[in-house]
């Protein structure tokens, strides 16, 4: 199959889905207001984008997102690298991550709110709980990928470095880190996807401000076109982020033979 043909099949699948979305409400398959046709939703997307309130909510959400993801990168990557190189640490931390893995991290936002609410004003407790939930969600893919990346450095690379006279710190910085980079970057791609749904999930559960709250508010007041429009925007943000990330990594890490 040529690349063009393969691509056109994929595009066709998306177009058929979008076509159904447009047709279903118009032909009465979806009879009520709950599913407006695609064209109306897209029109509403435009309105939402021009809404100053929405834009300030996006700013708030972006701040939480960056804080949560940043926290996960700052903790997860060094922790994973250390786990990859120190068996004791790995044995110690891996079971904890395995316990955390199946827990729906978004659901932790409520118990977190409880615990934090006793110690700080509720506004700050909510803010902290949402950031922690995003960080927890991203922590696992980042830590696991960094662990594998650091553990699977070819021994002959480290041996060559030792023979040439590189000490342990230099080997860590100039051999282990770059050798683990591809895996870390792959982990970060997964974390990016996790971060978006953790953000919106946490904001839907603990409302107040943010894109998730804006979405829920539209639902509360019965503006279904707006509900769909915000959902579409969140999906596009996730898709766009992933595409930009993959493109950037491919261009920036020219030496890497694989793909993110």
């Amino acid at each position: 199959m040529t690349r063009l043909r393969a691509a056109s099949i994929s595009v066709a699948a998306v177009l058929v889905l979008l076509g159904c979305w447009e047709a279903a409400p118009r032909t009465g398959v979806a009879p009520d207001q709950s599913l407006p046709p695609l064209s109306k939703v897209l029109g509403e997307v435009w309105n939402v984008l021009r809404d100053g309130d929405f834009r300030s909510q996006v700013g708030l959400s972006a701040g939480r997102w960056a804080a949560g993801l940043g926290l996960a990168v700052l903790i997860g990557v060094p922790l994973g690298i250390a786990m990859g190189r120190a068996q004791v640490l790995r044995r110690l931390v891996e079971p904890l991550l395995a316990l955390l893995y199946p827990v729906p991290k978004v659901a932790l936002v409520i118990p977190l709110l409880l615990v934090l609410g006793l110690r700080m004003p509720s506004e700050r407790a909510g803010e902290t709980a949402r950031i922690v939930v995003i960080a927890l969600g991203c922590l696992i893919p980042l830590t696991v990928s960094a662990t594998h990346g650091a553990a699977e450095v070819e021994p002959c690379l480290l041996w060559s470095a030792r023979a040439a006279g590189a000490g342990p710190v230099r080997r860590l910085l100039t051999i282990v880190l770059p050798a683990a980079l591809p895996q870390v970057l792959s982990g970060l791609r997964i974390a990016l996807a996790v971060s978006i749904f953790s953000l919106v999930g946490a904001e839907l559960l603990v409302r107040g401000k943010g894109v998730g709250a804006y979405l829920f508010n539209a639902y509360d007041i019965g503006r279904y076109e707006r509900v769909w429009a915000v959902t579409v925007l969140v999906a596009l943000a996730g898709l766009g982020l992933d595409a930009v990330y993959a493109w950037t990594v491919r261009r920036a890490v020219r030496w890497w033979e694989g793909d993110v």
Partner: protein, 273 residues
């Protein structure tokens, strides 16, 4: 020591002083996969003289790589000792460079970067590095490839870079673990010739693992045949082909066929390890 030095030096003593590498009773066991231990190396004694080109051949799995790693100081032996220039080997050091079958280049560095990195470790000043790196790359026949990454190179070019990077350490001993084993026949022949030229120009002491009898005969001053596991030195062959030599001369030498047959017969007898 002083008392000893006062005695007349007997021939054994002189040989000890002259050995670049001296292995005595080197043995190594690994923990077995299920239980017990697997003795890989049974006890190897070997002297390599300065500037000598020695090949190691032996059944696969008999511990040739293990032996090289022990000499490199990357893993420890269970018994015996390895001396390099009369000093006990206790870890890796820039006096012993190593070249692996799988090249072991740093994929995140360019060709030039790989070589420059080794120069930097040796303490070559930042200003002198580019010039020296270019000279080394030219020595291995890679004048044009400096800015490429390893992923953009053929197997033969990768191994040339690996040799240049090891030469950058300027170690007097070169340990090579089946360096041409992953290359096609033509590239392999070319690199063998270049290795002989480099060896001739630099005067390194080379310990070269191969499973190709032809390669061993073409390159070596001496060929050490190891037995199957637990391995010992089974035979040492000194082909004595004149140097500088060409492949044609070696192949046409009247003793070539007999030596080839002798080594093969020994390897066949040892069977797989």
């Amino acid at each position: 020591m002083a008392a000893e030095a006062a005695h007349p030096v007997d021939s054994a003593r002189r040989e000890a002083d002259e050995a670049k590498l001296r292995l005595s009773g080197v043995a190594k066991s690994y923990a077995g996969r299920r239980r017990g231990t697997v003795q890989a190396i049974g006890g190897i004694d070997l002297d390599v003289r300065p500037g000598e080109f020695v090949s190691l051949v032996g059944p696969s799995g008999c511990g040739k790589s293990t032996l090289l790693y022990i000499i490199g100081g990357f893993i420890g032996a269970d018994g015996g000792s390895v001396l390099c220039d009369g000093r006990e080997v206790s870890g890796p050091g820039p006096d012993r460079g190593i070249v692996f079958q799988e090249f072991a280049l740093f994929p995140w560095k360019t060709v030039l970067g790989n070589v420059t990195w080794a120069l930097a470790r040796r303490g070559v000043s930042r200003k002198d590095r580019p010039e020296q790196a270019r000279r080394l790359l030219s020595l291995v026949g890679l004048d044009e490839a400096g800015r490429l990454y390893p992923s953009e190179l053929s197997g033969g070019m990768k191994q040339r870079v690996a040799i240049a990077r090891t030469l950058a350490m300027d170690s007097e001993v070169l340990l090579m673990d089946e360096p041409f084993g992953a290359l096609d026949a033509q590239t392999r022949a070319l690199l063998q010739e270049e290795l002989l030229r480099i060896w001739d120009e630099t005067g390194k002491t080379v310990l070269f693992v191969t499973h190709s009898v032809e390669e061993a005969l073409y390159l070596s001053d001496r060929i050490v045949v190891l037995s199957s596991r637990p391995s010992r030195v089974r035979d040492v062959i000194t082909p004595g082909f004149p140097r500088p030599r060409t492949r044609e001369q070696v192949l046409a030498d009247s003793s070539y066929a007999a030596l080839y047959e002798r080594i093969w017969a020994e390897l066949r007898e040892e069977g797989p390890a």
